[in-house]
């Protein structure tokens, strides 16, 4: 009896012995990568390729877990509050790092102070989509009408505080126009109403926008990014049209809780950069129409800081809040 009891006690206490011994070799057990958005999304497929690579090279399972909710803040909060030992990572997006923390009140976490960036992974150009019914075939058409009749042009978004919403606010402030904002529950219903012609415009990621433009069910007015997209060669970039300030993309990146040892961050960063150059990743990205980013943790931190201050400003000016 005594033997069994002590065996049971030992097995119950075993997990707590872990952290002290973990420093010797990272990783020494399974790493969980949290994706704060629903399964099947873009960042998910990229995340899985990255995880497979990590698993092969570092020798421990890297599991992708979806913790959905509250615009991605539930998943991000979970990582930010976890132990900074490199075993809980965040596969976040622009929204996780630069938008959602400023929209949701009370602030769930500080993306500059509470997050340790590891590596930026991919970035996707944003397309300004106009419905067939709206009749806007180029940016000029849109700006003319929007300036003449403020509030007449309706812009869809994936929800209050979502990337399309905040981006539309940046757009409207840069161009000096006023939109009538119509929020939806996610990108799917928004796209549905664009195709039906119930809303005029929508700022959507290129992967889902391009097919509709290619079959002429909607018009593409501009793309963001450093050059025209291969998927939409006829759509001008925002820089070409004279608005370089709008050159914001929707990107994804790997991060951990602040305080994670630099050695662990460096290992993960190095391998992330390696996998971004792999054949498998390149094929996937071409299909999705998005591009690799890569770079050092410091560069990602810089990007977060820059975009966070831009978005924070517009969020407070336009009083975008979920509370």
């Amino acid at each position: 009896m005594m033997n069994r009891r002590s065996l049971l006690a030992a097995s119950l206490l075993a997990p707590f012995v872990g952290p002290a011994a973990a420093d010797s070799r990272y990783p020494s057990h399974t790493v969980t990568v949290i994706s704060p958005f629903a399964a099947g999304g873009q960042s998910d497929s990229v995340g899985r390729v990255v995880n497979n690579h990590f698993q092969k090279v570092l020798g421990q399972p890297f599991i992708l877990e979806n913790k959905v909710g509250a615009g991605g803040t539930i998943g991000a909060q979970y990582v930010v509050r976890s132990q900074p030992d490199g075993y809980t990572l965040l596969l976040g997006t622009t929204s996780s790092f630069t938008i959602a923390p400023y929209v949701y009140k009370p602030q769930p976490y500080d993306p500059v102070a509470n997050v340790a960036p590891i590596a930026a992974l991919t970035e996707a150009p944003t397309v300004l989509l106009a419905s067939e019914r709206s009749g806007f075939k180029n940016l000029n058409d849109l700006v003319q009408i929007a300036k003449k009749e403020p509030g007449r042009v309706t812009v869809a978004s994936a929800g209050i505080g979502s990337f399309p919403h905040v981006f539309s606010e940046v757009f409207s402030s840069l161009l000096g126009v006023q939109f009538n904002h119509v929020p939806y529950r996610g990108g799917g219903p928004a796209m549905n109403d664009i195709l039906a012609g119930q809303v005029d415009v929508f700022f959507e990621v290129i992967t889902t926008a391009a097919p509709q433009i290619q079959v002429k069910r909607a018009y593409g007015l501009l793309v963001t990014g450093n050059g025209r997209s291969a998927l939409l060669p006829d759509v001008p970039t925002c820089t070409e049209l004279g608005y370089p300030g709008m050159n914001l993309t929707s990107w994804s990146g790997l991060a951990a809780a602040a305080g994670t040892p630099a050695a662990i961050v460096d290992v993960l960063n190095k391998e992330a950069n390696v996998v971004l150059q792999s054949h498998e990743m390149k094929d996937l990205l071409t299909q999705l129409g998005i591009g690799p980013v890569g770079g050092s943790p410091a560069k990602m931190a810089e990007r977060i800081a820059q975009e966070a201050s831009l978005y924070k400003d517009i969020i407070s000016k336009r009083q975008i809040a979920v509370q």
């Binding site: 099947g40 873009q42 929800g159 290619q214 079959v215 999705l288």
Partner: protein, 496 residues
């Protein structure tokens, strides 16, 4: 169309694709039977496997899981009052009562047959009318959705067998619980009490498991052992008269489901509720509903399977997912480099028609698998309850937890169990609650969006023909339901 179907069948009937269809259908049935764990979680888990396969095979397998789950969901609804899928809730109402009366075999068989018939018809719809249907669905915008939801809510009163007042009260209560979460239009959080898991609202599975499945366990535990065991397990196959009664319901349900399933959004759950309402309304014996009327199982089951098939149409023709599960399938297509949308039919005919053909093959496989299993399921009912219910309880909790990896959901389910138990004690029914819970927020969202788009002009609801008709129908139905009870009260008052 015949030529297209030829291409499709040629692609679908290869050994590899048949195998994947079988795996998908089996998996789907299994998770449909397990309460709580749904196709969404399963497809998400299997997505990585599809990276290795070609596009058609992966879509065939994933689609098989989706409509297989519809078949499986009705099994638990009938046997233990546990809706495996949101659209199986209605099957609980009469199906479970049939099981308590020893007619579980009939109920399960009719559900399977009705689903198969509806599946075949649904697929024909897709093959023949997909693009036309898609453009019809585009006419349904926010004002029409609002009107449809309003009609649905009024019809919910009809679902109640007892007092109209109590049904209305439950609808309103359901509406209130549906408000929990973040409001889409304004970003305000309602009733979340700072709990982040509530920011996106309460999940349907949480409510349904508690109100229906677990509350039923509580009520069963109250009774003595002898009362609880089902007296006789009747026949495993429906009788002639049952089949005769069921066939018209199956056909009506199929039509309703095919039409409503095309509407992205509330279509799927509406189709089974609408079918139940219709059957009850036109039945010669409405009081039999709620006590084991076979039309109450045949109609909704056909409706939800027809809806499951036609819900692929917006995806395949417009590139718009009708619900989160189809959104996952869309993700799978995009990863394979196939942009879902109008172009798919033209650019990738083998894929489109292969998928359509394999859906038929899958339905065939499902009915071949499910019918013999009925005997096995019915034997499960013989297990002494004191062994059965802990198992159900565990599966429920696992299922509820697995939806969002959240233990808060499990606690909420416990709360809803108590609510369901109380409701039963007070003679109130839970089906209207559920309908209010689902339709209320949708109704509000669409109303406010209509107002946003019309610049605050409420006349938009009447100016558009479809929505005007639906609102008039809703008001008419309300009058039809309330006037008799007013007359009865007047008569009673006069008699005194």
């Amino acid at each position: 169309m015949i030529h297209n179907l030829e291409i499709g069948f040629a692609a679908a009937v290869t050994l590899q694709n048949l195998g994947f269809c079988l795996i998908g259908a089996l998996l789907g049935t299994l998770i449909g039977v397990l309460p709580g764990i749904g196709p969404l979680a399963t497809i998400a888990m299997l997505l990585p496997i599809t990276f290795e396969l070609n596009a058609l095979s992966s879509l065939i397998m994933l689609a098989g899981i989706y409509y297989g789950a519809q078949y499986g969901g009705s099994t638990t609804a009938i046997l233990v009052n546990m809706p495996g899928e949101s659209s199986s809730v209605v099957t609980c109402l009469d199906g479970y009562q049939m099981a308590r009366n020893g007619r579980a075999g009939s109920a399960l068989a009719i559900a399977a047959i009705g689903s198969f018939f509806a599946g075949c018809v649904g697929i024909l719809f897709i093959a023949a009318f997909a693009p036309a249907l898609a453009s019809v669905s585009q006419r349904f915008q926010s004002p029409e959705y609002f009107a449809l939801m309003l009609f649905g809510l009024v019809a919910a009163v009809v679902l109640a067998h007892g007092s109209v007042t109590k049904a209305l009260a439950m609808i309103v209560l359901g509406l209130s619980f549906g408000l929990v979460g973040t409001d889409v239009t304004s970003g305000t959080m309602r009733f979340t009490f700072g709990v982040s898991e509530l920011f996106d609202g309460i999940d349907f599975v949480t409510v349904a498991m508690g109100l229906f499945g677990l509350a039923e366990i509580l009520r069963n535990l109250e009774q003595k052992d002898e009362q609880r065991q089902i007296s006789t397990i009747g026949r495993l196959w429906p009788s002639r008269s049952e089949m005769r009664e069921a066939w018209p319901a199956i056909i009506r349900g199929t039509v309703l489901g095919s039409v409503l399933g095309i509407l992205p959004g509330g279509g799927a759950i509406l189709s089974s509720f609408a079918s139940y309402t219709l059957e009850k309304r036109i039945s010669n014996n409405p009081s039999a509903f709620g006590k084991g009327a076979i039309q109450g199982v045949a109609g909704p089951e056909s409706a939800n399977n027809a809806g499951a098939q036609t819900s692929f149409i917006p995806l395949l023709t417009l590139g718009i997912p009708s619900n989160p599960v189809i959104a996952l399938l869309m993700g799978a297509m995009i990863i394979k480099g196939i942009a879902p949308g109008t172009a798919v039919m033209v650019k990738e005919p083998t894929l489109f028609w292969g998928l359509v053909a394999s859906m038929w093959v899958g339905n065939l496989m499902l009915i071949i698998i499910n019918l013999p299993l009925i005997g096995l399921w019915v034997k499960l009912l013989r297990i002494p309850y004191r062994w059965l219910f802990p198992g159900i309880l565990v599966f429920c909790c696992v299922g509820v937890y697995s939806v969002a990896n959240s233990y808060v959901a499990v606690l909420l389910t416990a709360g809803f169990t108590l609510l369901g138990y109380l409701a039963a004690k007070l003679g109130c029914e839970c089906a209207p609650f559920l309908l209010g819970f689902v339709l209320g927020p949708l109704m509000e969202e669409n109303l406010r969006r209509s107002m946003l788009l019309s610049d605050g002009d409420p006349l938009i609801l009447i100016q558009r023909p479809i929505s005007a008709v639906l609102i008039a129908a809703a008001l008419g139905l309300l009058a039809l339901t309330i006037i008799p009870s007013i007359q009865k009260t007047r008569e009673e008052a006069f008699q005194e």
